[in-house]
């Protein structure tokens, strides 16, 4: 079976069949009452909820809020995280000094910082952005550091043999060499930032996709909750695909 050959378009339509099949099973389960339709809703109901959400205009407000928080958080992470990663990759004592903090942040369930952010920054977008920032920055720092350290030393020797200035060494060798790792880090960081934003909105806010889910969840209107999850999936997949596109453009020089 595994030796069968598949053509390129097979992945597309088989994948589509997979998704449609799953939706069909879900719809049938609800129609045939294999599970309580109140609890599992159904694809048709979710589509209706999605439509209502969009028509009311609330979808665009919620989506806008979430995207805004996401973009600010990831932007701040990149702004702080990339230089930090470069420093750690270049300077060994700096790496050793920051290492315990990075490791701690990488392994801690970062939501536990949420009450602190609420106390420091108040309920609202600021605390959410701070949480998402914390979620994403570690990944960016680690990837940047690994990227900088992974640069072929012979390229650095080559630049040095041409008497390269430190600035040139950085912008013409270090940065372009580390770029693929940095962009991959951004892609992973986006996924983590999305978790941060959604959790923050889930806990306390008055707008955003997480808020939508939490609001209808407590009212047991699960079609609306699923609609919210659907939009979150679209945001997550869309953003990671966008960065993948950027990645493939940036690393055209790789075989």
């Amino acid at each position: 079976m595994s030796t069968l050959r598949y053509r390129r378009y097979d992945t597309v339509y088989l994948g589509a069949i997979g998704i449609i099949g799953a939706l069909l099973v879900w719809e049938l389960a609800a129609r045939l009452r294999l599970a309580d339709p109140v609890l599992i809703s159904s694809p048709m109901l979710v589509a209706g909820a999605l439509r209502g959400w969009a028509v009311s205009g609330a979808l665009w407000r919620d989506l806008g809020t979430t995207l805004y928080e996401l973009v600010i958080a990831i932007g701040a992470s990149a702004l702080v995280g990339i230089p930090l990663g470069v420093i750690m990759g270049w300077n060994r004592p700096a790496e050793y000094a920051l290492d315990p903090f990075i490791w701690l942040l990488y392994s801690t369930p970062l939501v536990s910082f949420w009450p602190l952010f609420i106390i420091w920054l108040g309920i609202g977008a600021n605390a959410i952005i701070a949480l998402a920032f914390l979620f994403s920055i570690v990944q960016i720092v680690i990837n940047t550091m690994v990227g900088v350290k992974g640069i072929d030393p012979v390229l650095v020797r080559c630049a040095r043999s041409f008497n390269a200035r430190a600035v040139d060494l950085f912008f013409k060798v270090t940065l372009p060499g580390a770029l693929p790792m940095i962009v991959a880090g951004l892609r992973l960081a986006l996924g983590r930032a999305l978790i941060g934003v959604i959790v923050g909105e889930l806990f306390s806010s008055n707008a955003g996709l997480g808020f939508h889910i939490s609001f209808y969840g407590t009212r047991l209107q699960f079609a609306d909750v699923f609609a919210g999850l659907f939009v979150i999936v679209i945001v997550g997949v869309g953003m990671s695909q966008a960065i993948r596109l950027l990645e493939s453009r940036l690393v055209r020089w790789k075989s």
């Binding site: 072929d152 012979v154 390229l155 020797r157 080559c158 630049a159 040095r160 043999s161 041409f162 008497n163 390269a164 200035r165 040139d168 013409k172 060798v173 372009p176 060499g177 770029l179 055209r252 020089w253 790789k254 075989s255």
Partner: protein, 265 residues
Amino acid sequence: MLHIELKQIRVTFPQPEGGELLAVDRFDLQVQRGEFVTIVGPSGCGKSTLLSVVDGLVRSSSGQVHVEGMLVTGPGPDRALVFQEFALLPWRTVEGNIGLGLELQHKLSSRRIKELVLHYINMVGLQGFERHYPYQLSGGMRQRVGIARALAVNPEILLMDEPFAALDAQTREIMSVELLRIWEQDKKTVLFITHSIDESVYLADRVVVMSSRPGRVKEIIQVGLPRPRGLAIKDAPEFVRLRRHIWDLLEEEVRRQVDGKEDRA
């Protein structure tokens, strides 16, 4: 006219377990302007280290290198390195790589750099590949880029660190013919490291044979073969004789190295 002078060069490297490794010891050499000198030696004899010292990338523990009477303290525009690993920036095209050295020197306008790059692309025979990335080139073509990049900064001395070691045998021969063709045009001073005896004789005015570690000068051999040379010269009796002679010298060194290891074991 004396161009490069190495006096009593000694290089040591600190070892991770402590202690020091003596890589090169009491190395003396004088190279005349326009001379093509090759250095052969058993692997690990410190020949690449020696080249880095001449370039200024590595500091000798004692002894001095003078270029045109000036003490070498670091890399300079009068010397350019060609690397065994090619050391091309994978994200730059052929053009971009050849222009790298000129860019890093910040002396010329980007238009002038472009003109020069074009000139050297023609010189090494890479017309039509200007926009190719390194991964799209064969090994031989990559090293042509490496050579063009070194030549582009118009150095007085070309330092070549086993530049053809990563190439297959046939490409290697073609590249050494090409190198001589390019060298004949303006006869720069060349220091060329290799572990191929054939290559060392074919290219050189003088061959320096190094001892095994610590690297010292074992013997310097004058190559009297006429120039310009074609591959046919490898059949000349004089070529065969020199090759035989160097082979004997190196065999002695390799044996000594192996015996030394066995003694310790």
